[in-house]
Amino acid sequence: MRAASMFVVGLMAVIAPVIADAQQSKPWEKIPVPPLREFKPQMPKRVELKNGIVIFLQEDHELPFVSGSVLIPGGARDEDAAKTGLVSLYGETWRTSGTAKMDGDAMDDFLEARAAHIETTGGENSTGLSWDSLKGDSDQVFTLALDLLLHPKFNAEKLQLAQQQAAAGIVRRNDDESGIAGREAAKLVYGPASPYARQAELATIGAVKLADFEAWHRRTIGGKLIIAVSGDFDGAAMEAKLRAAFELLPAAKAEPQRHESFSEPKPALYFVDKEDVNQSNVQIVGLGTDRRNADVPTLAVMNDILGGGFSSRLFQKIRTEMGDAYAVGGGISFNYDHPGIFNVEVLTKSVSTVDATKAALDEIAGLTTRPFTEEELKRSQEDILNGFLFRYDTKEKVLAEQVRLEFFGYPADYLEKYEAAIPRVTLADLSAAAKKYIHPDKLAVLVVGNRQEIKPGLDELKLGAVHTLDVTIPGAPKGGPGDGGAQQQ
């Protein structure tokens, strides 16, 4: 078991402006950096069938594997609120049920013996099916995967299994402080009933029936499927095989237009009491934006300055200088087809909750009051640009990016345009963006922590009355696992 890592993956830390000392000799600047050899990542071949289905083929002969996926529009955000969790259960049950020809258990035996896999998923905006195997088994595995894709036979026992596992997750969701923080933060930004924040509950997953799965499959399988295959195959032969499999399907139906509205959270101080922790999880949240926003390259630079790595303002202040956090960071997130969340996060011991929260709020406000420096701008641009290569340094990453852009209807050269926009960002752009997007008075502050230990108390923050949130899990047994559970030895 790995003990401590240096810092939490995914959190961007931002530093306060580095004071460049004119007298410091910088031996690293004298080290030769030759020009990088030209690198044109291998783009997948895109094939659009007459029925609208799109296929991507990415040959890769390094290892003797073939893997593929089918992405199907329509996901949890479209499910009936009374059955929240349906799509997740569907994603689980689809594969475990199998088909009329081969049920899920038989499929498990067949595949695992060959170190092959077929899996299904149900997510927020899509469902999917994927397969992978050694090259020698790829025809057989593809045939099975295709059958499962088009002709699943949903099974009541497997639905029940999936419901049980989901229930187990629901009743223990408050054991983990960061889980509580993440869920409540999303609810504050999007609203508790929003498809982007609502929670599966025991009642909603219990309401899901087999007929719901059959209906969901019927509703979505006729959509604009995106098929992606990579690995050790012959391009022409694979293309022919996929055409044969998919071109006779009826014309793909477009997803209905989404009509969603978003608003800022109600700015206030929110609190969840958790007695068995000695560290507070602080989330300062607001509404983000989406990737089509022309300001995104500027915001990406601003994010790096605020919370994007060791040099960021948040990291430098709250972790390095104050020593008050291991995990700290944040910024504005941009989703592809709906606004993301502005989020600054700090995890700090109970007694420094007020100090660390004040410092985080101060750094956020500082984006509009403490001018960005040339050094910060340059550093962030270099951070982003010099590491940009890692977004497309493998054939798999390139394929995944093309699938993503296709799914959301973005141009295929989105990454290149984004990369080209970063060096054009100026200090004036940054100030304007901060003024436009950063409104500390419109943010919600959420603290999950141990009320008894948080001294000084949260009223020290002077953010008005503390609104305590009730996170009791509806329908969960009160403090016990149920019949005879706690008593057996």
């Binding site: 401590a4 003797p64 596992q165 011991k349 270099e382 890692f390 559970g485």
Partner: protein, 504 residues
Amino acid sequence: MAFRHWMAGLALAAVCGLAGAQDLKSFEQRITTKVLPNGLTLLICERPEAPVFSYVTFVDAGDVNDPSGDSGLAHMFEHLAFKGTTEIGTKDYAAEKVALEKVEAANDAFEAERLNPLGANPEKLKELAAKFKAAQDEAHTFVIPNQFTEVAERNGAAGLNAETGLDETLFFWSMPENRLELWAWLESGRLADVVPREFYAERNVVMEERRMRTDSDPIGRLLEQFLATAYVAHPYGRSSIGWPSEVSQITATEAMDFHKKYYVGSNLVVAVVGDVKAQEVMPMLEKYFSRVPAGPKPEEMTTVEPKQFAEKTVAIKEQTQPFYIEGYHRPSYRDPDDAVYDAIADIMSNGRVSRMYRSLVRDQQIAAEAQGFSPYPGDKFPGLFAFYAVPLPGHSPAEMRDAIHKEIEKLKATDVSDDELKMFKTRARADLLRGLADNQGLANALAEYQTRYGDWRELFKQLDKVDKVTKADIRRVASEVFVASNRTSAWIETEAAGKAGGAQ
């Protein structure tokens, strides 16, 4: 050796008839190793898929090497390794050095008063605390915070991180290949010339990390107790992130003593995988990594856990959801039966076909999840083979225990099937193959095998051991090891809430 996720089990071999990038011969052509005069091993593996490289510095020292009374030191040092050197991260090292010595002296004085067996004098303590803070503030004026990582990140470092395990410490990142020399300067510098600046603030950061991973996490708390109970002597039982009373008192001097002893050439393997040509870059790398001090290979930690002869249990009653885990002592990776333990873990836990899934999750429907895994928490020394299960609502840790024991008894009483054994071998082979096309994973695996076996080729020879596992081996090992007198178990029983849940 267990095939851990980041290794993805690099093994070559038996995928019969496959030429190209996947056989030992091809890797022998692509890998160059060199042991420098200071004892450091450099390993370069050429993989020119894209103009990038990944590296790992594998230090053969981890939490088990924390001195007695200083649990958390190895990990604390890992944090320090990001603070820069005499050349990077400072405005004036000569002045800073003096200031840092003053910080140490102020800390020593403060600690001496605080730990006074006759009781600390509150006035004096307050005064010493203020002096300590003032000394730190002064030292801080010379610091350019986080300059080391800043230079790495603005030169394109991706996945920049480090890990301290029980047995080893790893530093790693990926970078565009035209920064190879810059990386060599940075990495060799911080290995040879680290400066413990801002040590006491960083110690607070590590305390926060402990609060996040352990104190405030029900499973984190349970596992710390579980290991401490399973081991009475060997440091696998000691808190790896550190007992609060010990890690909160580590000093910069102690951290630097650790560095001096363990960060010597003979204790380091540096592996680079990617778009690099060994012949071209080796002289340059040798120049930089020769800066690392030579030194004798530090003496090994020699404590041997005495044979467990009494069953041990840890019963936690709290308002969190139920959980069950048990573990049995097993030999280290060097044992001839090492692959047998992998076979057992695979057959018992790998996927929906596994015994524990089919029995506890699918058929009996008492658990949401049930797995066996090993070695835990480390592999260099004798670890544990552990089984855990997450009860479904309405089911108890005791039910998990009984169901797991039934599965274990089946393993002892009847041979596994031919299909199960064959599946283990097929999957092991495929997993190994899959890991070969990832620079960071390859670097980590090559460095680990080079350290643990003295030869990276062992990575590829592992499959021979896998192939030799027999049904009789599995029964024999299960019968010897999975016995009550060798068992430690820990569980969480959910306690009824005293008052209504939610706000007070």
